[in-house]
Every structure is written in structure tokens, then in C-alpha cells.
Subunit: 307 residues, 2 copies
């Protein structure tokens, strides 16, 4: 296959960046792939893993002559990257990112993008609870959605080229207004992570139930939350700080609904509980039917072996 881009530069090589690097190499999508990250240890590890063709610490050096620049750093670091690379971008280059919030990334990066460079923000909805370059794998994006949030006046050819690139990585493409993206992600991703972090924190703080009891008996429900609550703390701190309004809106709705549910428990309103518990079943069925979830019990976890 002919490479999609002669030269691709990755700024950041964590779970998402390293997964993308792996699929880019597997599919031969880059003539040359430059990997860049500020951490010397991570850069050395990326080289050991053979994730790129060359490795540089300096983002400005990495983007020189690159036709595609993929920024995959915690969203709070977006502006610093934009400032570092703005004077070194090739005219006609496409600059994209993979951040979980879009309005904030645009506010941080767009003002620094030179004329003649195509800045097209993006967000692959893919990830696991693991982080770092060792955690990546080439299949991460298979059959997952990548949402692009092009700005007004985005060049149609550049958008098509970036979309084709993501499709070649296995993704399905949607485009969306950045504000709407941030609202959608607040409910499907940010609120779930915050709730998971919160309940794990609540359990960790109890006096009447010991930590060892929480751990021993976690298979009865609690452990499902611990996966999201094991996600990268830096990434999720930044998401909370950079999608504040939409997150606060979803938190308010969640808490209002929970207060109503709590009242039903207190006053023994079994019909109300039964109605909600029935309605929510259908949602999972729809997700399975849409190919976004497995149908096997317990997520298809393998039963733990008797020790």
C-alpha cells in the first residue's frame, strides 16, 4: 500500500499515540514516522519498542517536514505543544490531536496555527485503563468511532485525507461541532469516569467495612467500576479541568436523579425502582446490537481459576 503521508510526526507516545504508531507501521501508512516526547525515559522505551523510524525529544524538530502531525498529550498540555511547534510546521501540513475535550483544545491550539497549515481537531473514542507506550496495541481503533471536529472553513481535501487515514487505522468517522462533542463525551465518558473514581474513593474511606473486605467481595459489583477508576490520573485531571461546564451539567442531572432514586429507596417505592431497573436493561441490549459491547456474561471475563 502506498503510504498515506510521506512523513508523520507523533507528539506524545502514550496509550493512544503508541497504538496509533503500531497500526501506522503495520499498515504502512507513513513513509517515515518520527516519535517525539518530552520524557527521555518514554522516548527511549518507544525506541526499544520500535514504534517509529526516528526519535527526538524536541517537538519542533519532530514536526519539521512532517505532512501529518498527531498531538497525543494530556489536553492541558495542548497550548504548550502548539507554541513549541508553530514556527516549524511545513506549509500544507495537517495538524490533529486525539484529546478527549475539543473546545478547550481548539482554544489552546487554533490561535497558534500558521496560515496554510490545516488544523483539524480529532478524538478517537478508544482506550483502556492502561497507560504508557507499552500499553498500546494496533487493534485499539478497530470498529471504534473517531470524531473529527473541523473548524469553519476547513479544507475539504485535508479533511478527507485525515478521515481516510483514520479509516485505514480501523476507525469509523463522524464529524461534529466541538461544543456538541464535549456535551456527548461528558455523558458517555467523562461522567462515567468521575462516578467510578468517586465510588472507589467512597469505598476506600469506609470505617465500618475494611479495605480487605471491599477487595475480597468486589466481584459482586464493585469491581466493574475499578477499571475506569484505574485510568491515567493526569489525563483525567485535565479532562475535568477542560470540559468543566458540560461535566457540571451532567453531574447536576446525575445527582438530581440519584436524589430521586434515594427517596424511592427511603419510602419503599418499589414500582418506581422496578420501572427504572427495567428501562435500563434495554439500553445495554441496544449497545450490544450496535456492536459496541460483547454479549457474553461478565463482559466475557474468564472465570478466575481456583488457586
Amino acid at each position: 500500500m502506498k503510504p498515506h503521508f510521506d512523513r508523520i510526526a507523533f507528539i506524545g507516545i502514550g496509550l493512544i499515540g503508541s497504538s496509533l504508531a503500531r497500526v501506522v507501521r503495520r499498515e504502512g501508512l507513513a513513509g517515515h514516522l518520527v516519535v517525539s516526547t518530552r520524557s527521555a525515559n518514554t522516548l527511549a522505551r518507544a525506541e526499544e519498542l520500535g514504534l517509529g523510524d526516528s526519535y527526538v525529544a524536541d517537538a519542533a524538530e519532530a514536526v519539521r517536514d512532517a505532512d501529518l502531525v498527531v498531538v497525543s498529550v494530556p489536553v492541558g498540555a495542548s497550548e504548550a505543544v502548539a507554541v513549541a511547534i508553530r514556527g516549524h510546521l511545513k506549509p500544507g501540513a495537517i495538524v490533529t490531536d486525539v484529546g478527549s475535550t475539543k473546545a478547550s483544545v481548539i482554544a489552546q491550539m487554533a490561535p497558534h496555527m500558521p496560515a496554510g497549515v490545516h488544523f483539524i481537531p480529532g478524538h478517537p473514542l478508544a482506550g483502556t485503563e492502561k497507560s504508557g507506550p507499552d500499553a498500546g496495541f494496533a487493534e485499539l481503533f478497530t470498529n471504534r468511532w473517531c470524531i473529527l471536529t473541523p473548524l469553519d472553513g476547513t479544507d475539504a481535501k485535508a479533511l478527507a485525507k485525515l478521515s481516510d487515514f483514520w479509516r485505514a487505522c480501523g476507525s469509523n468517522i463522524d464529524t461534529m461541532d466541538p461544543q456538541h462533542h464535549d456535551m456527548v463525551l461528558a455523558i458517555v465518558s467523562h461522567l462515567p469516569h468521575i462516578i467510578a473514581y468517586n465510588i472507589v474513593g467512597t469505598a476506600d474511606d469506609l470505617e465500618a467495612v475494611t479495605k480487605s473486605e471491599v477487595i475480597k467481595y468486589s466481584a459482586s459489583g464493585f469491581r466493574d467500576f475499578t477499571r475506569l477508576a484505574a485510568s491515567d490520573p493526569t489525563m483525567w485531571r485535565d479532562v475535568c479541568l477542560h470540559n468543566k461546564d458540560a461535566i457540571l451539567e451532567m453531574l447536576a442531572r446525575f445527582s438530581e436523579d440519584l436524589a430521586s432514586l434515594q427517596r424511592a429507596v427511603r419510602w419503599g417505592d418499589g414500582d418506581k425502582l422496578f420501572d427504572l431497573f427495567t428501562r435500563t436493561r434495554a439500553v445495554r441490549r441496544s449497545i450490544i446490537d450496535a456492536g459496541q459491547e460483547v454479549d457474553a456474561p461478565d463482559f466475557g471475563r474468564q472465570a478466575a481459576k481456583k488457586s
Copy 2:
């Protein structure tokens, strides 16, 4: 292997009852296994599946001459079962249950148990989001905890016999005070289910984000909650109604913590967010180390196939 009991009667044959029936037959733990359930359809299905040696609709008839009676019905139905069987139990029989709440089951059943019958409440911490006799499987209890909450004065030999039976089914045994059981389960199981039901309800009610968007993009976190929220509505209504005090206590703590987290989001307290998000990671690691969770990313879900 010599059967553990000459005659075992199951009252209720849903996910738990049918899983237990399967392992009892596989391991040869019963000389004769009688299956009983009020629903004619379910009873016929249990017979088609070959879950027992005989099948009767009437619980009173089922328990006649049984050495072990296992009640596996929604906890709200416990007293009705106790009333139905109390005049028909064999002297020296062991009566146990599998309910998710223990103080309420004891209050419903213990007053009806005749002298000479050993009533030993129990709770296998095992299950999936599926329900009904077809959903059961013999490995459900392997390496999972079964908590027994014996009453004061329980016969030590009967307790040992019931414990051996559960061990033969694959379980590890703990004993616990019923009130403490209910507090522990409120945090490791009941609160997680209620929170999962609630967030799925909140998402289902949004106007600004469509249902199809929630479903399409659910793999970014939301789908993890839908598994618990697909659990049996009758069972979970009864749990909420029958462990009210402990659940309200845990809901209050959760909401208090969430309000504090929400405040950190509103005021941009990144350090506070980072500290919580770091602390919760260790909890998952402990659960994996305890053999109660898989270490594979995404619970080891198989990546969805490209359609």
C-alpha cells in the same frame, strides 16, 4: 463421590438456583434433586434443561423428606416461601437461602422455622447480569465467596455440612454477622448497582444528546455501567427495599464525596482531582492481586469485529 445429601430441594430455579443445580449434578452432591418454582413455564424449562431429578410446582411438596432446602427467590418472597414450607420440613433438615440481604431474610424466615430444623442463611457472592434458568452455569461459584450468617445457637455440625457443600460447589466460605453482611454488601454490591442503574437512566433522559449517540459512543466508558444496569429488576427492587438502612448510609456517603469532587471540578482544584484519581488505581491492583478480577485491558473483552 458419595452425595453430600440424600435429597436436596431447590425452591426457585433462576440464575443462582440453576447454576447450583448444575454443579450439584456435575459433582454428584445430591442423591435426588427436586426442583420447584411457582412459574409453570420456568418449571417446564428447568425440566427441558434437565436441571433436577423431579419437578414440582408446590414448594411444600418439594421439601418433603429433603435433607437440604435451598431457597433462591427474590428476597421479598422469602416469608411466603417460609410459610409455605414450614409444616412440611423433615426434622433435622438444613434450610438455607442465597439472598443478597440477610437481616431481612432472617426476619422473614426464622420465626417460621420449626424446632429441629437448621436454618442457616447464606449468600453466594456470584452472579451475572443475565437471569433465568437458561443463564446458569456450573462454574458460577468457582473461587467466589459464599458468606454464611448463622444465627446464635446454630448447630456446628449442620454449619460444617453446609460449608462442605458450598466448598464442593467451588466456593470459598466466610461466616459473618448478618448486620455486618448487609453493610459490606451495601458498598460492594448494592451501591454499585444503584449507581449503575442511575447513570444509565440519566443518559437515557437527555435531550441535548440523543439515545443513538449514547449507544454509538458508549465504549468510551458508559458501557461499563450497563452490565450491572441490565441485572434482574425484580431481584434488585427487592434488595433496595430490604437493605434500606445500609443502602441509604452508603448513598449518603457517596453523594457527599461526589459533591466534594464536583466542587473541585468547578473551582479547578487539579491537585485534589489528581490525588483521588491516583489513589483509586491502587484499589484495582489489589483486587487483581486477590484473584477477584482479570488483569487484561477492558476486562479482557474481545475487540469488536469490523462489520
